[in-house]
């Protein structure tokens, strides 16, 4: 590139240009969030901690069938109940466990659930369901799925037993996950 090219190559203009870019970033707004004090707010369709309500569940096993990794274990039995004179058989739920430590929160169980409002849904705000001890604490039985013992709900979110509805945007899954919310 000739002598002058060699000399010109000595003066690093483009390196200075690079320095300019990083220099400008010195004064730009920072992106860090101080996590424990400031908690990031998930979006309204975030697939977070499970919500479950036993009354709405019609024990049809479709959520267990839809789950790709079969971590929803359901056991039920039939009971005779009297409904206005006629003998009717009704399915009663014995066991409804979700092995949350293996769950990948794909949301297929919620999509498969035929009940309206949903019996099993993914809440959109609570994501802090970690535990120190793997096997017990993250193996959610029917009771724990409802009263959320051992789950640190996001501020303002109540457990399903205390009335969290699936279409409640702060806690439940946005009803609009299916259709655009009115």
């Amino acid at each position: 590139m000739g002598f002058w090219g060699f000399l010109a190559s000595l003066v690093p203009f483009e390196l200075a240009q690079g320095l300019g870019v990083t220099g400008r970033f010195l004064f730009k707004k920072k992106a860090t969030i101080q996590y424990p004090e400031v908690k990031p707010v998930p979006k309204d369709r975030f697939r977070g901690m499970f919500g479950f309500s036993e009354e709405r569940c019609i024990v049809c096993h479709s959520c267990a069938k839809a789950c790709p990794i079969d971590i929803i274990h359901i056991q039920d039995h039939f009971e005779e109940i009297e409904v206005d004179g006629k003998k009717r058989k009704k399915k009663v739920l014995d066991r409804y466990d979700i092995d949350v430590k293996r769950c990948m929160f794909c949301g297929l169980c919620e999509e498969a659930c035929p009940t309206k409002p949903l019996a099993i849904w993914l809440t959109t705000k609570s994501y802090e369901a970690s535990a120190y001890e793997r096997n017990e604490r993250l193996y959610f039985t029917k009771e724990r799925l409802q009263d959320w013992t051992g789950v640190r709900p996001y501020p303002g979110v109540v457990s399903p037993k205390d009335g969290q509805m699936p279409d409640d945007p702060t806690g439940g899954s946005a009803a609009g996950r299916g259709e655009a919310k009115p």
Binding site: S9, P12, E14, L15, Q17, G18, G20, V21, T22, F25, A31, P42, K43, D44, R45, F46, R47, K65, A66, C67, P68, M104, F105, C106, G107, L108, E111, L122, T124, G176, R177, G178, E179, A180, K181
Partner: protein, 374 residues
């Protein structure tokens, strides 16, 4: 690089065997490369893979067709949207389902956003491996904005599980298109900023020009696809050759490199990010309305037969080959992984280079071990 014998000052000095990885900061996952070094010059390189093999194709055989979709998120975990697109595409092809235009548009939006997100990871880690620390944080800042858009649409940031056979499970939330437009409008300025940091930087050029060269003929012979192929000058992109999801409606160019070295592949990917921005802008401009899901039975049972379908994933041609026996579970579902086949050309590209160049070449191939090991 000239023949290596001439370079051997001490004829009796034997070569040094080094195992590079699988725990190594620059192998983008659990890849191990057995290196035979003469001093710092690589005499031979032999990639060893399989550390992340989870038997995905075996698991596919027990899942329902919609149940396989979360597993495809974990193949190329930096590009979940295009993995989903390929899987649902092949099942729709074998069932003869036509997807409504709005579903195609949403898929194109998700795929192109995913292409940008995947390329930002590539640029961040590639620059970090070659020593420039800051681009990593700038690129990931932009990627966070894309992940927010994904989270808003389907509820997950990385493993999206956002498509179903026959269309999209849910429609775009209100205001999503505006937020997407604001992101896309400011993105080219960010890419220009990164280019000011790297493209003309003499150290970057010294580390990438002429490194890991592969000729066009060799690239086709080695079955390279995606940016590694286009970097060597072969103008070939599935979105143009076999348009899917109505890609023929959008006009965009296919960036092509000249001499197939790391610098050209870098330029190709940077240009691809800009082209993706153009596609998204066009898609947002004429977003069709209407249903997002075709009439598809609840339990997907494709007819007996086989079909292959591929998409242009950020890494190359990602194909799915499904064989159905008429049941609700795929009889055989094979993944044609882009990175697995691109990695095969690594020894050819690296022979005779220095150890530092191996890092640059691994970065430029943009490999993800999830897709390689399946």
């Amino acid at each position: 690089m000239g023949n290596l014998e001439a370079l051997k000052p001490f004829p009796d000095s034997e070569e040094m065997e080094i195992s590079f990885g699988p725990q190594h900061p620059a192998t983008h996952g659990v890849l191990r490369v057995l290196l035979r070094l003469d001093g710092e010059r690589i005499v031979d390189a032999k990639p060893v893979i399989g550390y992340l093999h989870r038997g995905t194709e075996k698991i596919f055989e027990r899942e329902t067709y919609n149940g396989t979709i979360p597993h495809t998120d974990r193949l190329d975990y930096t590009a979940a949207a295009t993995n989903n697109q390929a899987l649902v595409g092949v099942v729709e092809k074998i069932m003869g389902v036509t997807v409504p235009p709005r579903a195609s548009a949403v898929r194109v939006l998700l795929a192109e956003l995913q292409r940008i997100a995947s390329h930002t990871i590539w640029l961040g880690t590639h620059a970090l491996d070659i020593g420039a620390q800051s681009p990593f944080f700038y690129t990931f800042e932009e990627r966070e904005k894309i992940l927010d858009l994904f989270e808003e649409y389907c509820g997950a940031r990385l493993t999206l599980n956002s498509m179903r056979v026959g269309g999209q499970p849910y429609d775009l939330p209100d205001g999503w298109t505006d937020r997407c437009r604001t992101f896309v409008d400011q993105f080219p300025a960010r890419v220009a900023e990164w280019e000011r940091l790297l493209t003309t930087n003499r150290i970057w050029k010294l580390r990438t020009v002429g490194v890991g060269v592969i000729s066009a003929a060799n690239a086709v012979e080695w079955g390279l696809t995606g940016p590694p192929l286009r970097g060597s000058g072969v103008k070939w992109d599935i979105r143009k050759v076999f348009p899917y999801d109505r890609y023929e409606q959008y006009d965009f160019e296919i960036p092509v490199g000249a001499n197939g070295d790391t610098y050209d592949r870098y330029l190709v990917r940077m240009e691809e990010m800009r082209q993706s921005v153009r596609i998204i802008q066009q898609c947002l401009a004429k977003l069709p309305d209407g249903p997002v899901m075709a009439k598809v039975p609840k339990v997907i049972k494709p007819p007996k037969g086989e079909a292959y379908f591929s998409v242009e994933s950020p890494k190359g041609e990602l194909g799915f080959y499904v064989v159905s026996d008429g049941g609700a579970h795929p009889y055989r579902l094979h993944v044609r992984p882009a990175c697995f086949i691109n990695l095969q050309a690594l020894p050819e590209m690296v022979r005779g280079l220095l150890v530092a160049d191996l890092i640059a070449v691994i970065g430029t191939l943009d490999i993800v071990l999830g897709e390689i090991d399946r």
